[in-house]
C-alpha cells in the first residue's frame, strides 16, 4: 500500500469514528497508527474470535455470514502495515463449525502471498484478553502480560501486533467499501420472543433495540448489556436513555429473579474463568462464589470487601470488571429509586 492509499484509508477510518468492538471501544485509527509507527520488519494482525464471555455470539454470526468481509478487513490491515502475516485467535468450537469456509479463504489468500493461520483456542474468557491470547498463540499459559510494552510495540513473538475483534475487522471492510453506517451487532437473549443477532444502528437506545426487534417483554424485567458477566445492569426505565456498551449483548431477566441466582451466575463464571494469575481474581472470585453459595442471607459487606480489592488491585480487566455487574445490579435493580 503506498503512502497515499494508507493515508486515505486511515482518514476514512477516523472519519467513520470506528472504535474497537471487542468491548474496550478504543479508537481504531489510533491503534493503527501505533502499530504502524512501531519499529520492526515483521508485524502481525490478529483477528480475535475468542468470544469467551457469556451472552455473546455475534462474532460467530459475523464470521459465518460475512466471512469474506472479515478477511478483507484483515487484508487491509496487513497491507496498511506492510505485513503478510495474520492469525485468527479462534474459539475452537467456532473453527469446527466454520472450518471449510475459513480454510478455503485462507488458501485463496495464500495464493496472493498472505500467511493467515488459525490458533484454535480452548474456549475461555481470558482467551479474549489481548495479551493472554498472544501467550496462548506462542504456546504459553494464557495469562495476561504486563503492559507496557503494549502489543502495538511488542506483541506476538515480540513483534508489533494489531489485535482486532471480528466485528471491528468487518467494519473496516465496510468503511473501505464506503458502506459503513455506524451499525453494530446486538445479541439478544434471555426470555425474549426472538433471540438472536441483529445489525442495527449503534446509537439506538436499548429500548429502541428491543422495540425494533419486537422483543419488549410483557413482564417486569431488567437487563444486562455488553456481556452477561462483565456487562452493566439496567432497569427497564433506564433503557429509554441508555445505549449499548461493551461487547454488544442484551440479556433480559424477569424482575423477580432471586438476587442469589444472579450473584451465583456471575461469581460461578468468574471463579471458573479466572486465569489464576493474580491473587484478587484467583482467590477472590472463588471466595465470592463460595460465600454466596453457602449463604442463607447474602453477605453484602463481605462481598463488597472483595469487590473493592478486585476493582483496585486486579492484574487485568477481567478481574477489574467483576464488580460492574454486581454494583449496577444493586444500584439499578435492588435499590432503584422509585
Amino acid at each position: 500500500m503506498n503512502t497515499k492509499t494508507k493515508e486515505t484509508l486511515l482518514q476514512k477510518i477516523e472519519a467513520a469514528k470506528l472504535v474497537g468492538r471487542g468491548g474496550a471501544g478504543f479508537p481504531t485509527h489510533l491503534k493503527w497508527k501505533f502499530v504502524d509507527k512501531a519499529k520492526g520488519t515483521k508485524k502481525y494482525v490478529i483477528c480475535n474470535a475468542s468470544e469467551g464471555e457469556i451472552g455473546l455470539f455475534k462474532d460467530i454470526y459475523i464470521l459465518d455470514h460475512f466471512t469474506a468481509e472479515v478477511f478483507e478487513g484483515m487484508k487491509l490491515a496487513m497491507d496498511f502495515l506492510g505485513s503478510k502475516y495474520a492469525w485468527f485467535n479462534m474459539n475452537a468450537n467456532y473453527y469446527r463449525n466454520l472450518q471449510e469456509k475459513l480454510d478455503a479463504l485462507i488458501l485463496e489468500y495464500k495464493k496472493k502471498g498472505y500467511d493467515i493461520r488459525v490458533f484454535q483456542e480452548k474456549p475461555s474468557y481470558i482467551g479474549g484478553e489481548e495479551t493472554a491470547l498472544l501467550n496462548a498463540i506462542e504456546g504459553k499459559r494464557p495469562k495476561p502480560r504486563l503492559k507496557p510494552p503494549f502489543p502495538a510495540e511488542k506483541g506476538l513473538f515480540g513483534k508489533p501486533t494489531l489485535v482486532h475483534n471480528v466485528e471491528t475487522l468487518y467494519n473496516i471492510s465496510q468503511v473501505n467499501r464506503g458502506m459503513f453506517k455506524n451499525n453494530r451487532f446486538y445479541c439478544l437473549l434471555g426470555p425474549v420472543r426472538y433471540p438472536g443477532v441483529y445489525e442495527l444502528p449503534a446509537d439506538m437506545t436499548l429500548l429502541e433495540v428491543l422495540e425494533k426487534t419486537n422483543n419488549v417483554p410483557e413482564f417486569d424485567y431488567f437487563v444486562q448489556v455488553g456481556g452477561s458477566a462483565s456487562g452493566v445492569v439496567w432497569n427497564s426505565e433506564q433503557l429509554k436513555t441508555e445505549k449499548m456498551s461493551g461487547g454488544g449483548s442484551i440479556e433480559i431477566y424477569p424482575a423477580d429473579t432471586p438476587p442469589k441466582e444472579m450473584l451465583l451466575k456471575w461469581f460461578e463464571f468468574y471463579s471458573k474463568e479466572s486465569c489464576g494469575k493474580c491473587t484478587p481474581c484467583r482467590e477472590g472470585t472463588y471466595q465470592l462464589f463460595e460465600m454466596v453459595k453457602q449463604s442463607k442471607k447474602i453477605p453484602w459487606n463481605k462481598i463488597n470487601e472483595i469487590l473493592d480489592l478486585l476493582e483496585s488491585a486486579s492484574f487485568c480487566a477481567l478481574g477489574k470488571s467483576v464488580p460492574t455487574a454486581v454494583r449496577t445490579y444493586s444500584e439499578n435493580v435492588l435499590h432503584k429509586k422509585i
Binding site: 475461555s124 471458573k272 489464576g276 472483595i306 483496585s312 488491585a313
Partner: protein, 569 residues
Amino acid sequence: MKKPIVIINGKEFEAEKGENIMQTALRNGIDIPHFCFHEDLPLEANCRACLVQDAGTGNIVMSCTIPAKDGVRILTTTPKVEKMRHKNLELLLAGHQQNCPRCQKKLHCETAEIMNRYHVKGNEYVREKVQELVHKLGTAAEFDPNLCIACNKCIKACESIGIGFLQLKGKASKTRVDYNHDPKVDCIYCGQCTVVCPVDAIREQSHIEQVEAAIKDPDKIVIVQTAPSVRNSIGEEFGMPYGQDNTGKMFTAYRKLGFDKIFDVSMGADITTMVEGSELVERLETGEGLPMFTSCCPGWVKYVEFYHPELIPNLTTSRSPHIHSGGAYKTWWAKKTKTDPRKIVVVSVMPCTSKKYEASHDKLNIDGMRPVDFSLTTREIAQMIRKHKIDFKSLEPSEVDDAGVYSGAAVIYGASGGVMESALRSAHYLVTGKEMEKIDLTEVRGYNGFKKAVVTIGDVKLKVAVVATPKNIQVLLKELKKNPHAYDYVEFMACPGGCLGGGGQPNPSSKRIVKERIKGIYAIDKKMKMRRAHENPVVKEFFEYADKLPKKERDALLYTNFEPKRKFE
C-alpha cells in the same frame, strides 16, 4: 549522573538506576510485603501484596511495577492501602499456617513474619483444596501443590537457568505448581526453585530428624563435614552480612549441636583435586576422553546422564568431594582411630539439594556403607541451630578437628571456576614438579556464567572453560559440537555462580548476593597458608593408606561411574 529522587510517604529518597519503587522503599527500611518479586527474574506482578497508593491519583498501584523515576510519589501506609493489603494477604495466605510444615514446627519463615507484621491470620477464608500428592524431585527436593500460592517464582527460576521442568497447572483457584510432563524434560535436582519459594511449597527433602536422632544415639559417632560454600553464607541465616566468613562460629555451633567430630568436605575437595588432576594429566597424555568435564556437581551429572548421555565418557571418573571425604572417614580414619565404621554416621552440610540425591546412590557404597549418610542444606543446619536456641552471632570461633584440615584450593570449590583453579594448581605440580608461578587464576573467577582461559602447564597450552547453569552449558555444548577440540578441560556447575549460588543456600539469594559470597570465599583462600591440595598433610596420609589397598578397594574409594538416566531416575 544525578540519581532520581522519589517521594515515599512524603519523604524524599534517592533511587538507584533501574530499580522499582518497591526496591527503593525496601533499601530505605520501608516495609512492603511481596511474594512474587525477585530481582533476577522477570517481573510477574501477580501476588499484588506490594500494593501501594499513588499519591497523585489516589489509585492503588503495584509498587513492583512502578519504575523509581524522579518525582514519583507513593504512599505505603494509608487506610486504603492497609485495608486492601490486609484483604489481599488474607486471600493469598488463607490456611497457610495450618498447612505449612515449617510454620507448624515454629521454624523461621519469612511468610510467617509478614503475617505477624500485618496481623494476617490466614483464617478469614478457606482456600480451595486441590487433591494433589506431594511430588518428589528425586531424593533431593519435593513440592506440595496444596501449599502453592502460584507466585510463579520457582517456575521462572527453573526457566531462567535453562531447564523449564516446572510449570503451573489448572485454572482459577485451582492454579498450582506442577511438573513438565514432556518426557524429554527432567529435573536436575539443583534446587534453585527451593531458594525462591516463599511458602515452603517447594523445599528440600528434610534430613533434620534423622540427623538429630543420630546425634542422640549414644552408639553412633556422628561426623559433620561442611562444604566450602556454607562457611561464608551460613551467617546470612542469622542476619549477618552477605558472604561473611563465619567458619569458626560454624564449627562452634556444630559442637554445641552435639556432633562428635567436626571434619570438612574441603578435605575431600583436596582429595578430589588430586584424583581429578591426575586423571586430567593421564587423559592429556593419552588424548582420550577429551575434553574432560568435571563431575563434582550432581546437578550437572544428572544433566549429562539425562540430556546428553553421549558425553558420559568425558566426565571425570573422580568421586565428588563429600563422597571422597565421607569414604575416607569411614575407612582410613576409622582404621586409624580404631573406630567401628558401622557406628559412624557422616552428615554433610551442603549449599545444595542435589547432594542429597547423590548421597543416596548405592553405586557409591564402600563395603556396603554409604560414604555420606545424610546431607543437609545450609538452610537446614541453620534451622537446627535456631531450634537449639544457639545464638550463632555471639559464638566464639573454634577450629576444625585434625582430620578435617583443608587447603585454600579446596575452599574456592564453592565458586564457579574454583574446581578448575584448584585442579590446575595441582596438575601443574604433578606435570612439571614445580609450583605454578601465578597461583591466582583470575580469568576463571567471578559470577559470569561462561569463562574461558588458556593455561600453560609445562609445554602444554591448556584450553579451559568454566560454565555455570544449563543455559550456558547448552551454549558450550553447541560450540563443542562444531569444534570438538575447542577445549581440553571444562568445569560445569548447575547453579549460577557455582555452589555459592546453590539450591540449598539461604533465602534470599540473588546475583548481587552471590557476588558478595564469591568475594568472601576468595578472601578466605588468600588468607590461608596452605593453598594447594597436594600440600594437605591429611590428604597425603589418606593416599598413603589408599595406595596400599588392593586396586578394587582403592578404586571404590576414589572413583565412580555414570549411566544414562530416564525421567525421574
